[in-house]
Symmetry: C2
Subunit: 639 residues, 2 copies
Amino acid sequence: MRSDRLARTRLPKRIALPVFSSDAMSSVAYAPEQIFLALSVAGAGAYVYAGWIGLLVALVMIAVVASYRQNVVAYPNGGGGYQVVSVNYGRSWGLVVASALLVDYILTVAVSISAAAATVGSAVPFVQEHKVFFCVCAIVALAAVNLRGVRSSGRFFAIPTYAFVAGIFVMIGVGLFREFVMGEDLVAASAAYEIAPSEPDLAGAALAFLMLRAFASGCAALTGVEAIANGVPLFRKPQGRNAATTLLIMGVFGVGMFLGMIALAKLTGVQMAENPVTDLVGAGVDYHQKTLVAQLAETVFGGFPLGFVYVTASTGLILVFAANTAFNGFPMLGSILAQDRYLPRQLHTRGDRLAYSNGIVLLAAFALVLVLVFQGDETRLIQLYIVGVFASFVLAQSGMIRHWSRLLRTERDPSARRRMRRSQSINGFGLLMTAAVLVIVVVAKFSHGAWISIAVMAILYVLMRAIQRHYAAVSAELEPPSGKPPLPPRNHVVVLVSRVHKPMIRALSYAKATRPDTITALTVNVDDGDTRALQVEWERRKIPIPLTIVDSPYREITRPIVDYVTTLKRSSPRDLVTVFIPEYVVGHWWENLLHNQSALRIKSRLRFERGVLITSVPWQLESSETLDLDRWDDRLAGR
Amino acid sequence: MRSDRLARTRLPKRIALPVFSSDAMSSVAYAPEQIFLALSVAGAGAYVYAGWIGLLVALVMIAVVASYRQNVVAYPNGGGGYQVVSVNYGRSWGLVVASALLVDYILTVAVSISAAAATVGSAVPFVQEHKVFFCVCAIVALAAVNLRGVRSSGRFFAIPTYAFVAGIFVMIGVGLFREFVMGEDLVAASAAYEIAPSEPDLAGAALAFLMLRAFASGCAALTGVEAIANGVPLFRKPQGRNAATTLLIMGVFGVGMFLGMIALAKLTGVQMAENPVTDLVGAGVDYHQKTLVAQLAETVFGGFPLGFVYVTASTGLILVFAANTAFNGFPMLGSILAQDRYLPRQLHTRGDRLAYSNGIVLLAAFALVLVLVFQGDETRLIQLYIVGVFASFVLAQSGMIRHWSRLLRTERDPSARRRMRRSQSINGFGLLMTAAVLVIVVVAKFSHGAWISIAVMAILYVLMRAIQRHYAAVSAELEPPSGKPPLPPRNHVVVLVSRVHKPMIRALSYAKATRPDTITALTVNVDDGDTRALQVEWERRKIPIPLTIVDSPYREITRPIVDYVTTLKRSSPRDLVTVFIPEYVVGHWWENLLHNQSALRIKSRLRFERGVLITSVPWQLESSETLDLDRWDDRLAGR
């Protein structure tokens, strides 16, 4: 498993940066264009605000990075929101963060893959035309790769992240160089079109609200910052310091790319609309709107197509890698929550590793649903995304403030106190900023989709509490009393018989070998002819155990057996009844369709009777020998 | 179950006719229009052949009805194709008929429901616009009604069938009256349009081929004739004679309606095209082509809308009832085939009645696939339909010829011999006609969809043979040798332990009650801390059985247990090993998601080890007491 392997190899900063920040960095690929798309509702005139909104987003980004630098230093064993909040505010608030993070992971996959499809589709029209299909394939492929447990080293992650960062910075650099040094006038192809605003005369409060929406959309650039905080234990020592430095580098890169792209977009006059076919005058019905990154690359590297291909390819690649980080994080968080009994045990990795697979399959399934429902439209998906991210930011920051307060209560050293106060005020500033953004996001995006995230988070929260309550109740119910349990005085064995064949003969002989107090061969008469034939064969073979026949006027099998067993139990309630059921074991899954249906139903029904043991007597058919049990074991173990 | 009830109440002819002929009669609702649609490819000029083609189809209809009258007299216990052919040509040919009939039943549902949607859609545009949705709902509703086992009497069936027949004949009568007696000139609304032939200059062989296709399409009118032959045992005595008379009435009605509708269509100048939007000049893009029945009713009852509503409603209703007959026939045939071991035992009704439900669900699922794939287009579905129908006709008729030959070999009475010879020649004529149609259908429709039916029939045939071979092989493998089986000398019990709770304590006490030779409490160490806690608790409670701990370096659960058991088996191969597995029994299905996963996996894996018994020790959680077991038993029994 990758997690084991990573645990053994502590990562230097230059590897940790790409491993943990591909998610955060990749956000830059779709965040700037969301600002322009949101503003386009009021027409291209509203683009004048894009720069200011970008600066505001950058300010929030700086605040968040600064805050999380405090987290990682304070919690070198993993500064993720769930732990920080659970420790400082208790389980309930921790669970709120966990709900938000689970939703975030799912959206990370859906948004990143949709954005990757849009990016690749800007270069390859075929992908654009079959976007949903491409998204579905990508998610299935990612799940498959993660299920197979392909081990990828940190170095493998480093390539696309650095390639992306380098590509974007080169693009920004070349663009600014050509514009200001060479004095060229870079004009994007879409600058030729004019945006027909769907709400042309916005002013006052309505305009302010639109700008808030654009700002909230731009804050998509902050998604993924948490990943480094979660990864602190995997850094080289001193872990906290190294993680803090890495966060700083990530912040600088992120802010630089983000602002650079907005500047470039404004310089080249890129025009983008939410519904380009109707709202871009002059574009025509066949116009496929490319992503902002693609349009910038096309404009900057005009005449040098390799540049365009490089930027779109590396952007698509880092987006896929960003989705992949969720395939690591989701099962890990699921496992922690399952260990705390908030999620089903199947998600807890401590036992068989299958648990990890369950998490991967769950994540992929949810992401597929999102992609299918929203038809791989990242603009609509982003409306759902940011609320969860900022909810966990806000809670993590308030958790940190309480953390410092607690430490300050006992700390006497003035210089340490000063450092703590400084950290606390940084976290306070972060809390202020993220809380403001959270309010803005909820208000501005609620009807656009944020309500879905909030509803899902609430459902998850309630569900996880209910699961925890259930496990606790069962645990209390199962607490054994002291003292010895009563030993059933006698054991009555009932062997189910349908016809005379090897499995039945074996079941009878095994039943006898357990030396029960009484033994009964029981058959249900659903067809008089068959039952007579069974009796004749029974006598002919001189089977020494008498055959008991129960009638079934309604041609049922299960009920007469259950009735027989309950009658037996009633006549001697303290005794044990063991029902022996002969079963076939087959080598191919489809053979199960042809056998054992009655046995399964009888077993599932008998389980409800107290004091009744159900013993399967497997008969291995020849076909079962063809099965490669070792490979099956491996599969069971999730390998 | 309806079949039981019908078996108890022998049906008089006036009830048997509607019960068994709704399928055959309803074919008239779509067969005539298929002739016009097929001819329209060559333009309205080709419509001149419609009358002749109609007469030819009527001739085939008479031949088939006459032939089946011989069947029902000869086989009063059920003259269905599968029995007749199995008896006279052996199992293999019987299986060919069975494959054809299974495909037919599925197509009966798909075609009838699609035609019903088209008919109702002619009156209610909303249904037309959401045709596939309507079809899916109708199939699901039919399946639900049949799963609930709603008992409907024969009288209930009588209403729509007689209503339909009466409506069509009144329509034909009023139409002819207005045209010839009143001297009015009835003109259909669609007569105003002109058909743009997609292949305008057809002549010679190509034209002949087109006419063959039209003829083959018209033969859809014959689908459903078999139903009476299958229902002979349910007629009043003398069964054969009554069934033969009923067949005759059905034939007269069918031919009358069929030819009357074609005549009316030609008189009123109805124009129909396969793609009305492109091929009907003057119709416009919004034109919704109504069914032939609807167009005729509209024209004939112009100015009296109730007549139009009555005809379309009764046509829609009889088509739904026709689909319903398949929901009776398919599970019955499936049960017979399962009894002969050609299909999985779950489809055989002798045991629990659940089998019937399985057949209903299967039929509905296949029909849904067809409706979704072909988007509820009955014209395309009919291409698949007729080949199976005529394949079973041909085989049934050749079976009858051999039947008479066999009887003639021993019969000496000259008048009886004469009757037999006459019957044989009628069957011979029927064979000739149906064989000719079969060849025409296969040739003319192969590439239009008949290949799909043929392929599915072939797959079903191979599959059923394989299933039969599998059951035979298993049966042979399980044939017990004579002589007593060896009795395992000793019984070693292994109780699986995860933690100290009531189910485990109970499992230990029950295991002791079976008085094994040795007993082991086995736990797998996947987490050192947990295992130490278990050991401490074990000692504290002074549990008298020593705890055996096996290590699991890869944190697996199943494999170490299997390894332990196989080692135990290897050291004493003749002994028995019984593994006791404590399990929770819960009251809600979702609770199963939270429990018992490891137990399930361990059990499924241990079944492959020879000489190992698997004993479930159920622990009924309190929630399991809320379950209404009686209702559950009812559901298991399919009630």
